[in-house]
Symmetry: D2
Subunit: 383 residues, 4 copies
C-alpha cells in the first residue's frame, strides 16, 4: 500500500476494505470504533491507513463512545466515520439522535449480520433496515444508503460523506456481511476536489453568526470549533442561537426543519437503479446483497419470456415513495425479497396504495435467498 | 399508604403512580431503573412500595444495566419491570433484543417526552412509537400497549404483565408525559389470582426438559433458575436445548417462531376501543393522550352533525391491520393525529391499501393538539 | 429485628452484623456499596435495617461509585459508610483522596481477605494495613482503626463515626475475615446523644462563611448543602473560600493543615490496649484478629513464668509512635505477628529506634497464626 | 525524527520524551494509556513513534483499562508500558496487583504532581512514593526506580524493562513533573541486544510446562500465549500449574515466593549514587528532582568546609536498607528533603536504627525546595 493520500487503482478487495478506501478518498480523516464481526475489517483498514495520511484512528471502549467521538471530531471540522454491526448499532442509537439534533455531518456503517441479539455473528442478515430509520427516540429523518457490491460500497461511501456534509446529518450505510466480506474487483476511482462536498461555512462575521439559522435549503452554515465563531451546542431543543428553548413553538421550528431538510430535498438525495423496468409486468424490489440474487431471478424469468424487472433501492431512507407509487400502477405485483421477516416490504406495500400486490419473500438470515425461490414468486404472480 | 400487598381503592393519582400500582397488583416484585423525567415517579413509587411487600427495588447506574437486571430477575422467576423515557429507552434497545431472544417475560414503560436527543425533557411527545417496534437490531415482533389515561395506565400495566407471561416476551407500555403526570381518579381494582397469568411451567421431568421447545401456541414452558431444570441461555441463535446453533436452518426455526408466536396469536393480543364507528364516514385513529383530544374533536363534529368516529389503538404492536383494513372500505378518510411527524399514520396508510385517504395531523411535541385542528381536518374531508 | 431506630441488646452475631449495628447506632443513615466477600454481610444488614429507620441503602455498580456516593451523602449532611474488601478497597483509593481533600466525614470498612489480587476471597489476611495509610496518591494523613472482635467492631465503628465527624476526615476500619465472620456475644450498648459527635457547624452568618477556614483545632466548620451557606468544593488545591489556588503557598497551607489536624490531635485519637505490660521484658504488638492469637501466646508464656506482655493497637494510624518508643527502652524485643509479610512491624521497628529488636512473625494469609509459633518467638528472645 | 527502530543521538528533549525513547530502545512495542498532566507527553510520543516501528499505541478509556491492556499485551509476548500521574496511578492500583500475582513484566511510569486528589495538576510533587510500594491490596514486593534528570529517565526506563523481564514483575518509574517537563541534553545511547534482558523462556516441552514453577532465582519461565504452551492464569491464589488453590499452604508458597524473588535478589536490583560520602559527617538522602536541589545544598556546604555528602536513591523499592544502615553508624544525621510530608524519611529513620538522627525537610509540593533550606539543616546538624 503506497503511503499517499489518495489511492487510485483497480484492486481485488472485499467490501469492508472498499468502504474504508471510499471513506479515505471522500476525505474522512477520523475513525472511532469498537471491533465487531463482520465490520472489523473496516476498523483494521482505517487503523492502518489513517496514520499514513495524517488521520486519526481511535479504538474506543464501546460503541456509545465511538458514536460520541465521531460527533466531536466532526464539530472540530474533520470528516468522521464509525462502523459496526447489529449489537453495536443498537448502542449507537441514543447519540445518533444527538448527531441529528446538532446537525453533525458523520457516517455510520452497519455491516449487518443476522439477529436479534447476538444471533449469528458471522452470517448475513438484513434485519436492521427499519432500525436505521426508527432506532433512536423522538421524531427525525435520516439518510440511509445500501450497496449491493464492494464497488458500490466504495462509491456509496463517498456519496454518504457528500450527503452528510451537504445536509449536516449523520448518514448511515446499511451493508451486510456478504457484501462486506466478498472480494471483487473494485475500481478505486480517483476523486477530484469537485467530486467532494463540504459542509456549508458561515458567510457572516462571527458576531452575526447564529449556528442554527438555516439557509434556503434548510441547512444552517456550520462553523468549526476554533474558527472564532461562538456556538452553543445542546441536545436540548434550541433556538437559532443554539440556546435551550423549552417551548412547543421552538420544538416545532427546530424539529420540523430537521425533518424537512431531508424531506424537501429528497429528489436530490434518492438514488435507485432499474433493470428491465420499461416493459415489466412484475417488479422485484431489492437492496443490498439481495439485489444480486434478485438479478439472477429476473434473468431466469426473462429467459423464460416473463417480463420481470428489478428496482434496486440504493437510497433506503428517505424512501423512494414517488417512484414506487408510479410503478405500482402498471404492474401485477412487487416482489420484495429481504433477509428479514418483512421490513422494506411494508414501505413498498404502503406506497403501492393498493394499486398492486406486494409479495414479501422473507429469509430469516444466515444465508442469502435461493434465486429459484424468488423466481417462483415471479412466475406465480405472472401466471 | 397501607403496608399491604394489595392496594384496592379509588385514588386520585397520576399516571406514573397508577402504573406502579398496576405493576404491583399484577405481581411485579422487582424494579430496576435509572431516574429520568417524566418517568421518575414510577421509580419513586416502586422504591417506596416494593420494600413494603417483600419486593426489590434497585437503583441502577444506567438504563443498560436496568434492562439487564430485569431480565435476570425474570429468569429467577420474579415478575420485573423498568421505566424510562426517550434517551434511556434508546439505551435499552440492545438488550431488549436479548430479552426477545431469550423469551424473557418483563415489562418496559416509556413515558414519552419530546425528542430527538434530550429535546424537551419535561414536555410531551409521541416520537418513540416506531422505535418501540423497530429499535433493536435484527428481526423480531413485540407487544406494545398505549394508554390514554391514568386509569388505562393502571389497567394496561396489568395486561402487559399478563401478555408478557403468556407469550414470554418483553411487553412495552408506550405512555407519554401528559398521561404520566396528569392526576385523575383511578380505580385500583382488586385483582384476583384468576386475573393474572403466569408463564407456562415445564410439565416434564428435568431430564426431558428442553428450554426452547415450544408448545402448540409456539411458547416454550419456562423453568425458573433454581427449580432443578437445567438450561443454557445465550443471545446467540440456539436450538431447542438452548445451545448455540450457527446455521441458517436454526435461525429460521428460532427467529421465525419468535415472530410467529406474536403474529399467530395477534387476535388474542390486539385491543382497541371504538366510538361512534358504526355510521362513521370519517374515522380519527389515535392512541395515548391524543385519544383524549381526538374525542373532543369528534364530539365537536358530531355536534355539527358530521359523522365522525374514533378508533383508539390500545395495542400498537402487533398492529390492528385487519380492523383498519376492514374499516377503510367504508369511509372517506382516516385522520391520524400524532405528537410526531408521522409514525403510526404510515401503518394506517399501509393497511388502508388505497381504499381511503390517510391524513396525518402532526405535532412536533411539547404540547398536545388543539382539538380544533383535528376537527378542521375532519370537516375538510367530509365536505 | 424490631423496627426501631435504636437496637440495644446482647446479641449473638458476627462482626459484620455488629459493624452494621454500630454504624446505625452511631447515626449512619446512608450506605452505598458493592458486594464482596467477606464484607457482603455488612451491606446486607444495612439493606435490611436502613429502610426500617428512614435511612437509604444504595447498591452501586462498583466501588468507585460507592466511594463517591458516600462523599455526596456526607455533604448533604448524612453520616455515611461503605464496606468492602481488598480489590474494592483498591478501587476506592482515588476518591478516598477526594474525601480527604474535601474534609468529608465518612467511614470505610475493609474486611480484609488474603491478597494480592483476587487471592483467597473467603479467607483471612491483614495485607492492606499499609495501603490503608498510603493507598491514595499525594501526601495526607488518615485515621485507621482495627478491631479484634465483633464487640470491638461494634464499638470502634461508633468511634470511627465520632472521629470522622470531629476531624472531618474519612475514617477507615481495618477488620479482617475472621473477625467479620466469627459470631460472638455482642453488647449492642445503648447510645445517648452525648456519646455521639457531630461535625462542627458554622457559627457565622452565611455571608461570612468560608468553608475551608479552620478553627483552632485545624478543622473548619462544615455547612450542609441546602442550609443556605454557599460553598465551592473542588479536588483541586483551594483556598479558605474553596476556590482553586494553583500555588505552592496555597498547597502548603491546605495540605499541611490536612495532615496537621490529625498529627496535632493524635493524643486525642490514638487508642490501644495493654495486657501484662508493667513487668514485661518482651512485648507482643498485635492488632485485629492476631491480637486474639497473641493473647494465647502470652498466656502460655506467663504460665511458663516468662514475662511477656501484649500491646494491642486499636488505632493503627496515626501510629502509636510515642508509646512504642517509650516501651522500647525497657524490653528485650517486640514480637510482631501479622497476617502479611511485614507491614506494621516496619513501623514498630522504626519507632523502636534501635532500642530493642523487632521480630516479625509473618503469615501469608488464609488462616491465623498458630499461637505456639508466637510463643516460640517469645521464648527465644527471652532466653 | 527518522523512521527507524532505534534512535541514537544526543537530543535536547524533556524527561517525558526521554522516557518514551528509552522505552522504545528497551524494546517496548505496546503502550496503552489515558492522558493526564504531566505525563501526557509520554503518551503523545509513543502515539507518534510506535506506529513508525510496528508497535501499537492504544488510547484507553481510563487508567483501569490501561493497566489491564498492558498486562494482556505482556502475556502476548510484547514489552508494554503505561504512563500516568497521581489520580490515574490510584486507579491502576487494583490491577497492578493482578500483574504482580500473574508475574507479568510491564512498566508503569508515574510523573508525579502535587496531591492529594486533583491537587495541583501542573505542578510538582513527590507524594506517591509510599503508594508505589503499598498502594495495592495484599502483601507483595515491587521494584520502583526514581530518576533525577531526563538522562536518567532515559537510562532507568531501560533498566526498568530489564528488571521487569528478569524478575517477571511490574516495575514502576516514579518521576515527577519537573524531571518530566525539563528539557536537557539527553544521550539516546545505542542499545545492543546484549544490553537487553528478556523474560525467561520455558526450556521444557509444552506437556511438562508448569507456568508458575520457579527456577532457582524464584522466577518461573514464561510461555507466550500462542507458543503452544498451555497455561491457566488467574488472580486467585494458584499452584504451580496455575490452577486456583484455596489453602493457606498454597498462599504461603505463592505469595512468599512473589516477595522473596525481589527480596532475595535485592543486591542485583538496588542502585544508588553517592557523592562525597567517604568523609561525610552528614548525608543528604534524596531522590528524583530533589537530588538536584540537594546537590546544590551539599555544594554550598562543601564550599563552607562542611563535610556533607549525598546519597541518591535510584532504586526506591526494594529499599537500600543495608547501605543506609551501614552509613548510619558514622554520621551525625541523615537529612531527607522530600516534596511530601515525610515518606521515604520514615524508611531512612527505620534503617538508621537510632544510630543517627533522621531529619525530614518536607515540602508540600507545587515547587522544589530552596537549596538554602536544605543547607541550613545541614549546618544546624553539624554545628
Amino acid at each position: 500500500m503506497p503511503n499517499k493520500e489518495q489511492n487510485s487503482d483497480i484492486q481485488f478487495i472485499n467490501g469492508d476494505i472498499a468502504c474504508a478506501e471510499g471513506a479515505i478518498n471522500a476525505g474522512c480523516r477520523f475513525f472511532a470504533g469498537y471491533p465487531i464481526t463482520p465490520a472489523t475489517e473496516i476498523a483494521e483498514r482505517m487503523a492502518f491507513r489513517l496514520p499514513q495520511i495524517g488521520g486519526i484512528y481511535i479504538q474506543m471502549e464501546d460503541e456509545i463512545a465511538s458514536m460520541n467521538a465521531i460527533l466531536g471530531a466532526s464539530w472540530a471540522g474533520i470528516k468522521s466515520m464509525t462502523a459496526t454491526s447489529g449489537p453495536g448499532f443498537s448502542l449507537m442509537m441514543e447519540n445518533l439522535g444527538l448527531g441529528i439534533m446538532l446537525e453533525t455531518p458523520c457516517v455510520l456503517v452497519n455491516i449487518q449480520r443476522a439477529g436479534p441479539s447476538t444471533g449469528l455473528p458471522t452470517m448475513v442478515g438484513q434485519g436492521d433496515m427499519m432500525q436505521s430509520r426508527w432506532g433512536s427516540h423522538g421524531c427525525y429523518e435520516i439518510i440511509v444508503l445500501s450497496p449491493s457490491s464492494p464497488q458500490e460500497l466504495y462509491d456509496l461511501t463517498i456519496t454518504a460523506f457528500n450527503l452528510s456534509e451537504k445536509y449536516r446529518v449523520p448518514v448511515i450505510i446499511m451493508s451486510d456481511e456478504v457484501v462486506g466480506h466478498m472480494s471483487e474487483k473494485v475500481f478505486i476511482r480517483p476523486i477530484n476536489a469537485d467530486d467532494l462536498i463540504s459542509r456549508p461555512k458561515p458567510r457572516v462575521k462571527p458576531d452575526k453568526y447564529q449556528p442554527f439559522r438555516a439557509d434556503n435549503n434548510l441547512v444552517p452554515p456550520m462553523a468549526i470549533a476554533g474558527d472564532g465563531y461562538g456556538f452553543h451546542a445542546t441536545g436540548l431543543t434550541h433556538d437559532e442561537r443554539g440556546y435551550p428553548a423549552m417551548t412547543a413553538t421552538a420544538q416545532d421550528q427546530l424539529v420540523r426543519r430537521l425533518s424537512d431538510k431531508i424531506r424537501m430535498n429528497q429528489n436530490d438525495i434518492i438514488q435507485y437503479r432499474e433493470f428491465f423496468i420499461d416493459d415489466a409486468e412484475i417488479i422485484v424490489c431489492a437492496y443490498g446483497i439481495t439485489t444480486r440474487i434478485a438479478q439472477m431471478a429476473v434473468k431466469i424469468a426473462r429467459d423464460k419470456k416473463i417480463r420481470a424487472g428489478l428496482l434496486q433501492l440504493q437510497t433506503i431512507w428517505p424512501f423512494a415513495e414517488e417512484r414506487i407509487r408510479k410503478l405500482s400502477s402498471n404492474i401485477k405485483a412487487f416482489i420484495v425479497p429481504e433477509i428479514n421477516y418483512g421490513q422494506i416490504a411494508l414501505e413498498v406495500e404502503r406506497c403501492a396504495s393498493g394499486n398492486t400486490e406486494t409479495v414479501l419473500i422473507p429469509h430469516m438470515g444466515g444465508s442469502v435467498h435461493n434465486p429459484e425461490v424468488i423466481f417462483k414468486a415471479i412466475r406465480e404472480k405472472t401466471q
